[in-house]
Assembly symmetry: C2
Homo-oligomer: 264 residues x 2
Amino acid sequence: MNFGEASAVTPAGDGVWTAEVQPDWDIFGVSNGGYLMAIGARAMSGSSQGRRPVSLTAHFLRPLSAGPVEVAVARLKTGRTFSTLRATIAATSDSMALLGSFAEPGALRTEDLYVSARPPDLPPPEECPRALPAPDGPLPPPLVGQFEERIHPDDAGPFQGRPSGVGRVRGWFRLHDREPIDAFTLLLVADAFPPAVFNADLPLAWTPTLEMTTQVRAVPAEGWLRCRFSTRFVSGGLLEEDGEIWDESGRLVAISRQLALVPR
Amino acid sequence: MNFGEASAVTPAGDGVWTAEVQPDWDIFGVSNGGYLMAIGARAMSGSSQGRRPVSLTAHFLRPLSAGPVEVAVARLKTGRTFSTLRATIAATSDSMALLGSFAEPGALRTEDLYVSARPPDLPPPEECPRALPAPDGPLPPPLVGQFEERIHPDDAGPFQGRPSGVGRVRGWFRLHDREPIDAFTLLLVADAFPPAVFNADLPLAWTPTLEMTTQVRAVPAEGWLRCRFSTRFVSGGLLEEDGEIWDESGRLVAISRQLALVPR
């Protein structure tokens, strides 16, 4: 089952959509947040005549596992260019609350007017390891098998007990069988890499996400995505992870920020 | 009327709060988004037993002017440490949709565990100009009179027709009469500086905000705040502005990101 199928939604009337959260899109039983955001965004897009996500915020209420879910969408505003919608994803109880702006396809300017950053420098994918734990560590989470991901060798150390000391993870991403990457896929990509904070060399094993916002700028060109995720501030019991996703042609296609709890 | 008074809310029962959006907290008739977020956050805090905003996202539906508003708050989850709430601010119709996580005071760790960035270097406040337009330009917006703001001389050029060429604005902020700055004030500060994109030297006069997210890490120490706002990507018809707010002791107290439309 490819990503498009795994994140599909079916209309059930009155702004309600059903979906089947698939097994193996999880980290040890907890479904990936970016994957759930993609499911939510498909329902929100369906409730706005196919408009595309430009900014989507999700607050994580309760972990969700594989199984049927209901996405309830409410339209807050329908303008000429943008729709604002909110949604909740629920199994037995609400699991994720979403709020987002969706744009009419083709309605926005497309050119790059000002870009003051560059995509990450990465060795070729074949010289970058997959994000695997050490051979005697826990098994890789099933999620890792759902796409092709290659981590910059300098950032792949935490899984071998060698964090870089810098809160950063850079790497390549593409879907299996070169499935085309659309705006919904970018919501997944923004949450698909190992946490950048693992390279900061702190005694943290677990940093539950409270909230995540992804802003989509463009549909990527064909090929690998180049990604950079950074955590600069672990303070006040919280940490952010900022993401940049660039396509193989060197164009920025999405930025993201998530907020996670630093447990006591 | 100080900021605390200007952003006060009054309970009206059943999760509804009333407030009076004050005149002169606006840019040419449109009330400031950060100021409205502070009003919304006060209602959300009031609906969660005084919990404090840690992450608040607002989608801007319609401009609002001075006058009475209603804030309708719904609790999505009340946990031991965090509450997740959503709200809408409405005058005659919905103007702003909010979704946020609020934390129990004292429940989070307080120490800085990892900080890989530094506050902006700024000349002393008395050597930094206020954000005034050229003498023959339009009057300064009334908002500028509501607080003390000083712009880094290198970034103050757009108002004199000399943009720096870099999408950045750095400066100092404090409230009049040294009114203490709390988590609600930080929501205002994150939207209180002139747009960083004005320094990027693009033919843009107007960039309406679609969405803004502010994450609060700490209550600042007494004194001036040091602020840095940057726009790195003007592309796909959109631009982001990332903010960092540091206190006078050099501690990061909030980060923010807003998304604005680049008009055709």
